[in-house]
Symmetry: C2
Subunit: 232 residues, 2 copies
DNA sequence: GTATTATTAGAGTATATACTCTAGGGAGTC
DNA sequence: GACTCCCTAGAGTATATACTCTAATAATAC
């Protein structure tokens, strides 16, 4: 693997693990056992590394949120979107942790992120629209659908911060993918009142799979959980 | 005013304006035209300043969220809670911006904040319960009420971050209280499906007052808006 | 007045961090 | 061998930041 790619990979790994704020370019170089000079040969500065990682993240989510326009949506589709989005969130979880500061330091990133958000909000709204077409949820006005989509976005992007600040008792306790995906429970909570009688029970059953476990149970859980819905 | 209090006040002001990360103890001292030594005579370190500010914030919110148990809740109460919570959020808005890092650096704060969150979640849940008693919303199961309260909390505490990252086009654009309070629109969106027919129209009318304005209109708005619901 | 305590100034320090600069190695080409 | 180009090492730098230390001054008690 090329040095440049190794730098991106290690940076992402370290950022996710310790937070961007706590990872210096010197740390990244040391972790790869290369010199700082070498790192700066491949990237002009730290912001450039972050920006390239963002582009990957953006590409991944855009790919996941590509909505088929030639067929109706199914429950499986809906769960796929949720699972995928949380998987993406997990893989690039450093990003939303210090978002404001990252954007403050990079004009390009700020602009791109804003457009990215808009695309995501549109996608969420479109998913709701198609779910109504499919008879999974009751149809809503454009205004309500937009406001709901925004709430969904807020819950999705901030669920992790909630877990880290309000849930974790100890600094050392690391987040697991399983815990992160309990955010799906919260998102589905938003949909409950809009479900049609035909789909209510099946969605409620799916939701139940993501119900947060009691704190006692968290300890024995695997570091990277595989529990939950996986097939497409 | 005592130097100690002046330090707390200036710190809060600078933190809110520039973000805690961008305000050093030397900045605070310079802003007050006192020496760093003087500042460190009154506070052992920066964390201590932040912790004391948190205690004020906590006290304020706890005071606002004190729920009367001797009478039923009214719509006015509900709007008072919303307005108050967003006012508190505004006054201490630096806090939720870099929350994770603040908690990482101070064990006491982490512990206290966790308990604070739990109290807030309980209060929100209790408000929903009493609103159901008052016939404003339909009653719900404990489980649903908890999950809904958590969603309300997520929307409230992260609305500002959303505005800062996704909405603001320019770095220099500062948030206004009016914009922040559009978060109330989002919170009320969560309640819509649960409203009873008797109250539906009046809540929808209240909600309409907080509807986000079009971006074009934002420019002429006052820096600290006074638009919106104010009486109790 | 004098002793004591509380407060303040301001120079200084240890450490961290993003980034630079120069020298050179290795591989391919002529 | 010499030239070129890509890559790498590693010492070094400028700046920032949280915090310390000493000495002096103001306030208070007796």
């Amino acid at each position: 693997m090329k040095t440049r790619d190794k730098i991106l990979l290690s940076s992402l790994e370290l950022f996710n693990e310790r937070g961007e704020r706590n990872v210096t370019t010197n740390h990244i170089a040391a972790h790869l056992a290369i010199s700082p000079g070498n790192l700066y040969y491949h990237f002009r500065n730290k912001s450039d590394i972050i920006y390239e990682i963002f582009l990957e993240y953006e590409k991944l989510v855009d790919y996941y949120l590509d909505i088929p326009e030639d067929r109706p949506l199914t429950l499986d589709d809906m769960m796929f979107y949720l699972e995928s989005v949380f998987d993406g969130l997990w893989s690039y979880r450093f990003f939303h942790r210090d978002l404001e500061h990252l954007l403050d330091g990079d004009r390009r990133l700020r602009q791109d992120y804003r457009e990215f958000t808009d695309r995501c909000l549109d996608a969420i709204s479109r998913i709701f629209e198609k779910m109504a077409d499919a008879g999974i949820i009751e149809p809503q006005s454009d205004e309500l659908r937009s406001a709901m989509s925004l709430n969904v976005w807020l819950v999705i992007t901030n669920w992790m911060a909630f877990l880290k600040t309000a849930h974790a008792c100890e600094e050392s306790v690391h987040l697991t993918l399983t815990e992160l995906k309990q955010g799906i429970y919260q998102v589905l909570t938003l949909e409950i009142p809009y479900l049609t009688p035909a789909y209510r029970e099946s969605v409620m059953a799916l939701r139940e799979k993501y119900r947060p476990q009691l704190p006692e149970a968290r300890e024995v859980e695997l570091r990277v959980g595989t529990v939950g819905w996986n097939a497409v």
